[in-house]
Symmetry: C2
DNA sequence: TTTTGGCACTCAACCCAATGGAGTGCTAAA
DNA sequence: TTTAGCACTCCATTGGGTTGAGTGCCAAAA
C-alpha cells in the first residue's frame, strides 16, 4: 500500500506535512505550489492530494479547507520521508552547558535533562527515573530512628540515592546494625538489585532455621529495603508548552491531557515501552493506546549507565510536532546522559 | 472606612461575595433578593450596592452587569464576615485516611499532603519542603563514590533524607570516613542545622592550625555537606484544576500562571511568608506582589515538627475561592502533618 | 497520457445589524 | 426610609449576507 506511493506523491506528502507542522493550518494546493518547491500546477497537486486522501495519509476537516496529515501520514513521514539533521556543534554545546552548573547528582541531572528537553524542543520534557531493579548495588546504610523503625539509605552505582522506612519487630542495637551493614555491603557490592534480591531470597530459604540470628536479620532488612517500587517515577517539565498549541485550545481536551500528566502512570507505561528499543522511538497519537493521549505524540530514547539501560527520556507534544528537529535533541540528550552517568562517579 | 459599614451592608456584601464565589457570575440585585435571605426590595439592595461600590468593596464589569467583589471586598470578607465551619468527623477521617496507606516517609507524606489539599479543595495544593536549616541533625553518612567524590547522606530528626555530592582533594580511606562519621554523629546529634553549621564554622576558625588532620577533614566535609540550599523546594499538585476556572479561560493568562508554577521560585517566596505566622493566612490577588499572580489567592498555614516550624503548605486558586470551606482543610492538614511528624519517628 | 486552466460549488469565518434581557440609576410615591 | 416604576445602557445572542480559500471535475493543451 504505502509502497505504491510514487516519488512525486511522497514529495507532496512531505511538503504538506512540513507545512502543516509549521503553520498548524490545513494546507491547500495553492499554498503548496506558491511557497514550497513544487513546480506543478495547483490542479495537479489537487489530484495527488485526492489520491493521498484516498489512501489515508491525509484528511480534510471540511470540503473547502486544505488537507491535514492523518496519523498514518505522520507515521509514513517519520518512517520514510523525514530527514533528520544532526545538531551542530553550537547546539550540542548549548545543551551540554546546562549540566555543567549543576551538582553532579543524579536526581538533579535527570531533572535538568527534563528541563533541557523541554526548553530546546519547546514541548514537554519527560524523564523516567531509573527503576531500582535496573541499577547496581553500591552501598546500603541503616539509620535507626526509633526502637522499631529503621531508615534504609541505599546508593546505586550510578549515584542515585533511594531511601525507605522499615518497621522491625525486634530491637536492634546500633552495633547489630553496623554489623549488618558491613555484611551487606561486602557481600552485595557490584551485584544488580535483581541479583541481590534473588540472592537474599535463596539464602533466606536455605537457612530457614538459621542459628545465626544476625545473618537472618540482615537478610530480612535488606529484603525489606529492596522491595520493588510498584510504579516508576517520572520527571515532567514544561507542561505549559501545551497551552501554546492551537490544537488544544479547547479547555476540556487540554484538561484531560494535563490530568493524565499529573497522574503519571500512563506516561510511565509509555516510557517503559522504550526501554528495550535502541535509538529514538516515536509514538504517534492512538499508537499510545490511551484515548486521553490520542492527539499526542512522544519521541523517546533510552539512556544507560555502565550497568546497561537505566531508563528512558523524551518529549511529548501534539501529533503536529517538528519531528525532524526534536528527534536529534532527544537522541543527543539520551547519549549525553548516558555518557555523564558512565564517567562521573565510580 | 471599613467600620462605617452598617450591619445591613455587611450582610449584603457577604451574600454577594458568596453568590459570586458559587456562580462566577456578576451578581445583580434581583438575584440577591430572590435566592438569598435578603428580605429587601431590589431597589433597596441597589442603593446599598452602589454604596459598596463607592467604598471600593464591589465593582461592576459594565453598567448593565451585576457586581463582583474587589480585592478589598474579599479581604473584608475573609477578615470579618466569613464563618468558617470546622470539618466534621467524617471529613477529618477522610483526610486522615490518605496518609495511612502510604509509607511513613516524610517526602511521601508531603507529596500526599499536597495531593490531598488539591483533591479536597478542588484547587491546587502546595507544600513547601522543610528548609535544611529549620531541621534538626540526626545522622550523617558518607559514601565514597570515587577517590575524589563522596556522597553525604543526611537524615534529619523528622526523617527527611537529603544527600549531596562532595568533591574532595585528598583521598580518604574508608576507615577515615568511618571515623569522621562517628565523630560527627556523636558531636552533632540533636543540634539544629543552624547550630551545627555555626559550630563547624567556629571550630574551624579556632583550630586553624589543627594538628588533628581527621578533625579538620571532618569539619570540612560536614561544612560542605550542609551548605544551605539556595532555594527551597515545593510540591505542587493539581495544577489541572486551574483549567476549570472560568476566570482563566484566556489561554494567555492561563499560561502565565502555569509558567509561574513551573518556575516555583515565586511560590517559594509566597509560602515563605507564612513561616512565622500562626494559623491560617490568606493572601489575596495583588497582595502577592507579583503581577503574574494578581488574579490568584493563596490560603496557607505553617506546619511543624518537634523542633518548631518546618515549613508551610496551602492551596492556590483564583481570588474567587470558597475560602470558608478551604480554610479549615488547610488548617486541619497543617495540624495533621505536624502531628504525624511529631509522633512518628524518634 | 499527463498536465493545466477554467469554472461552478462548498463551507467556515467574518462582519454587521437587530433583538432580547438583565441590570442599573433616578424619581416619585408609599 | 423603602419601594415601585421607568427610561436607559450595554452585553450577548441570533441570523443573514458576504468573502475567500479551497475543492472537484472537465475540457483543452502539452
Amino acid at each position: 500500500m504505502a509502497d505504491t506511493l510514487t516519488d512525486r506523491s511522497q514529495k507532496i506528502l512531505e511538503a504538506i506535512i512540513e507545512e502543516y507542522i509549521a503553520t498548524a493550518q490545513p494546507v491547500g494546493s495553492k499554498a503548496l505550489t506558491r511557497n514550497l518547491g513544487i513546480k506543478l500546477s495547483p490542479a495537479s497537486v489537487r489530484n495527488v492530494m485526492a489520491e493521498l486522501e484516498e489512501l489515508g495519509y491525509l484528511a480534510s476537516p471540511h470540503t473547502s479547507a486544505g488537507r491535514i496529515p492523518t496519523e498514518k501520514g505522520y507515521r509514513f513521514y517519520v518512517d520514510t520521508l523525514i530527514r533528520v539533521n544532526d545538531l551542530n556543534r553550537r547546539q550540542k554545546d548549548q545543551i551540554e552547558q546546562q549540566y555543567g552548573k549543576h551538582g553532579l547528582q543524579m536526581a538533579d541531572m535527570l531533572r535538568e535533562a527534563s528541563r533541557t528537553l523541554s526548553a530546546f524542543s519547546n514541548y514537554t520534557g519527560l524523564v523516567m527515573v531509573p527503576r531500582l531493579k535496573a541499577t547496581i548495588f553500591r552501598h546500603i546504610e541503616f539509620v535507626k530512628l526509633s526502637p522499631c523503625l529503621v531508615l534504609a539509605v541505599f546508593v546505586t552505582q550510578s549515584g542515585l540515592v533511594q531511601n525507605k522506612l522499615i518497621e522491625i519487630e525486634e530491637d536492634l542495637t546500633p552495633r547489630d546494625l553496623e554489623k549488618i551493614t558491613n555484611y551487606l555491603n561486602q557481600t552485595m557490592a557490584g551485584l544488580s538489585i535483581q541479583e541481590v534480591r534473588a540472592r537474599v531470597v535463596t539464602e533466606m530459604a536455605q537457612e530457614k532455621d538459621l542459628y545465626d540470628h544476625l545473618l537472618r536479620r540482615a537478610l530480612a532488612l535488606s529484603s525489606a529495603a529492596l522491595v520493588d517500587e510498584v510504579t516508576g517515577d517520572i520527571i515532567i517539565e514544561g507542561t505549559s508548552h501545551f497551552l501554546e498549541q492551537p490544537e488544544f485550545a479547547d479547555l476540556k481536551c487540554m484538561k484531560r491531557i494535563i490530568q493524565t500528566f499529573e497522574q503519571k502512570s500512563i506516561l510511565v507505561d509509555l516510557l517503559d515501552r522504550g526501554l528495550e528499543t535502541e535509538g529514538v522511538q516515536v509514538i504517534i497519537g492512538s499508537e499510545t493506546e490511551y484515548s486521553e493521549l490520542s492527539d499526542c505524540s512522544l519521541i523517546t530514547a533510552a539512556y544507560s549507565g555502565k550497568s546497561g539501560t537505566l531508563g528512558t527520556l523524551g518529549v511529548i507534544g501534539p501529533n503536529r510536532m517538528p519531528y525532524s528537529t526534536i528527534i536529534p535533541i532527544v537522541d543527543y540528550t539520551a547519549n549525553l546522559i548516558s555518557r555523564l552517568l558512565d564517567t562521573d562517579k565510580d
